[in-house]
């Protein structure tokens, strides 16, 4: 009896992620959802620029590598090319989605573009070696905030779910994390809902996954997972920030 297997939607390519990085977990969750919904054959993923730039090697569905921050615009094109058949997701980090691609993020949400966005928030630029991200916490030490993020000098972190929840457009916004089994299960539920919403034609669904970067946080994988609970979650509270369909049902 097989008790554990690789989802079909993941390729056999060995991932390049650092030990303890949570990208691997989130990739797997996305792939499991694609398998369970039976949509691999019509799914097109859009990879970002950042640590997950090579996500196109890891998913078995058709994949596109976008310019930095532009994944939601590219996904818009792919979706509009065949709205009935294409299932489109972007997979983006915090620098990609909340800094250089902020306009694309906000406007695809405002349009309620019928796509699924997986947003990895690990409060740092990983690929370039640990610089301050738009989501780096106040006081957080990074390569480009060596004395800690000074909010008087470079401002405050961007809370993406909170910000987007003020728009009328988006269908569904939820923040989850993957630092323990219970949270991983919740994260999968949210990711599945974000894809199901697209299949149901409901529109823009974004799941923010509070993630860890042990390498650039300068921690062990275990410490990093604990730091999520201690520092990240208090600043980035988990939960559903918008669920228009649920709101309608309540009303």
């Amino acid at each position: 009896m097989v008790v554990f297997d690789k989802p079909h939607a993941l390729t056999d390519a060995p991932m390049h992620y650092c030990p303890g990085c949570t990208h691997g977990i989130v990739h797997r969750l996305v792939a499991e959802v694609i398998d369970e919904l039976g949509i691999e054959g019509r799914t097109i993923g859009v990879a970002p620029v950042g640590c997950s730039v090579m996500a196109y090697n890891y998913f078995n569905c058709d994949m596109i590598e976008a310019a930095h921050g532009r994944a939601p615009a590219v996904a818009t094109g792919v979706k509009r090319a065949d709205p009935e058949n294409h299932v489109v997701f972007t997979y983006q980090g915090d620098g990609d989605l909340a800094s250089i691609g902020m306009a694309e993020t906000v406007h695809s949400a405002a349009r309620n573009e019928n796509i699924t966005v997986i947003f990895i928030n690990n409060a740092i630029y990983g690929m370039t070696g640990g610089q301050m991200a738009p989501t780096s916490l106040p006081g957080q030490v990074t390569q480009t905030s060596p004395y800690g993020r000074d909010v008087n000098h470079c401002g405050y972190p961007v809370k993406v779910c909170e910000m987007l929840s003020k728009l009328d457009g988006p269908e569904y916004l939820e923040r989850v994390t993957v630092n323990n089994v219970k949270n991983i299960k919740n994260a999968k539920k949210a990711i599945k809902k974000a894809f199901q919403n697209q299949l149901d034609g409901k529109g823009f669904s974004l799941v923010e996954v509070v993630s860890s970067c042990p390498t650039n946080w300068g921690m062990t994988p275990k410490q990093a997972l604990e730091w999520i609970d201690e520092k990240m979650i208090p600043y980035y509270p988990l939960g559903v920030y918008k669920d228009r369909s649920a709101e309608k049902e309540e009303a």
Binding site: I64, T76, H86
Partner: protein, 354 residues
């Protein structure tokens, strides 16, 4: 639609794109090309197409990248400052070998510049559309009919060679009205087995990508792309020659500058000056052969441009600097008058025949 209809140049581009099978347009408003967007906004919903006003030119070109990835014909249009913003996307389209049509209805620059006609994006279009080694097919219409013809041609070439075709027009071409026929034989779309339309669980996954971290692989992709460019240079050059058979002076001009120059040539011929015109229709590939051949016959070239002199460099290169190449120009949104060009011709004629 065999009959001719009176249309603005911008509208002719839009309708020709639809005739060519383009059903996706993304753009951001900017003068003097907004008629294209307005036309598409009206027409696309009626024919099952998609017009979407993007939040920026950057978003628009990336939406183009998305549709192009699925193999469908797609376009965007803008004017000079907006094209600068699209530069990133143009580079990625080239790196991922995606076909697309991009229209630049040029206005004066640099910076915000003005809104009057210009040809000062010649360098940008033909040599430096964005970072990295790449080319675009650059088509320069000189009439409303050519705005339509070259739009169809642009889509066909883009598909054939998996690259961007750019219509390099100017504010005059965009705004002027002329009779135009939209009765086209459009070549059937090429097979696109590389497109990301979903595997349907029947094939390996396709990847649209411009990232090559291994330098040997990136170099290989560059060399392969330039092999294709070489083929295009040998096979796709288009130009018009006007009264060149006995010409002693050759004007080089494209777009509206060529129209003005023809008027001046007619006047000069009345005065007994043997002057002709080579009008590049493809700015890249540049019709080098035409200028090289002319360089053996004429005593002088005059490059007539709505810029500070950009195409003149290619005329010098193509003619091997065998004879003088002078510039007759206006800039910043001004257009040379036929009188100005005539004066330049008379001045050149004083230099004496070869």
């Amino acid at each position: 639609m065999a009959d001719k209809v009176l249309m603005k140049g911008n509208e002719a581009i839009a309708e020709a794109a639809i005739v060519a099978g383009c059903r996706h347009y993304f753009g951001y408003p900017i003068t003097p090309q907004t008629e294209i967007a307005a036309y598409m906004a009206k027409r696309m919903p009626k024919i099952g197409g998609c017009f979407l006003q993007a939040e920026s030119e950057i978003a628009a070109i990336n939406m183009v990248y998305g549709v192009a990835s699925t193999g469908k014909r797609v376009m965007t249009s803008s004017s000079s400052p907006g094209i600068s913003l699209k530069g990133e996307g143009l580079s990625y389209l080239a790196g991922a070998d995606l076909p697309a049509l991009v229209v630049n209805v040029q206005r004066g620059g640099p910076g915000l510049g003005g809104i009057q006609p210009s040809q000062s994006d010649y360098f940008q279009a033909t040599k430096a559309g964005g970072h990295g080694d790449f080319r675009m097919i650059v088509l320069a219409p000189a009439s409303v009919q050519e705005m339509a013809d070259l739009t169809v041609k642009g889509f066909e070439l883009a598909d054939k060679y998996r690259m961007t075709s750019m219509i390099l027009a100017d504010g005059t071409m965009g705004q002027m009205m002329e009779p135009v026929s939209l009765d086209f034989e459009v070549a059937p779309a090429a097979e696109k087995p590389w497109a990301t339309t979903g595997t349907k669980m029947e094939r390996e996954h396709n990847i649209v990508n411009s990232l090559f971290l291994v330098p040997e692989e990136l170099e290989k992709s560059n060399f392969e792309r330039y092999e294709r460019y070489k083929y295009i240079e040998e096979n796709e050059c288009m130009w018009e020659e006007y009264l060149m058979e006995d010409a002693d002076i050759c004007i080089a001009a494209f777009g509206i500058a060529a129209r003005v120059s023809k008027n001046a040539i007619v006047e000069a011929r009345k005065q007994g000056i043997k002057v002709g015109l080579i009008r590049p229709i493809t700015l890249w590939p540049f019709p080098t052969k035409a200028f090289a051949a002319a360089a053996d016959k004429v005593s002088q070239f005059i490059s007539v441009e709505l810029s500070m002199g950009q195409m003149i460099e290619d005329v010098r290169l193509a003619s091997g600097c065998k004879v003088p190449v002078t510039l007759c120009n206006r800039a910043g949104g001004m257009i040379p008058s036929p009188e100005q060009v005539l004066d330049a011709i008379i001045e050149a004629a004083k230099g004496g025949a070869k």
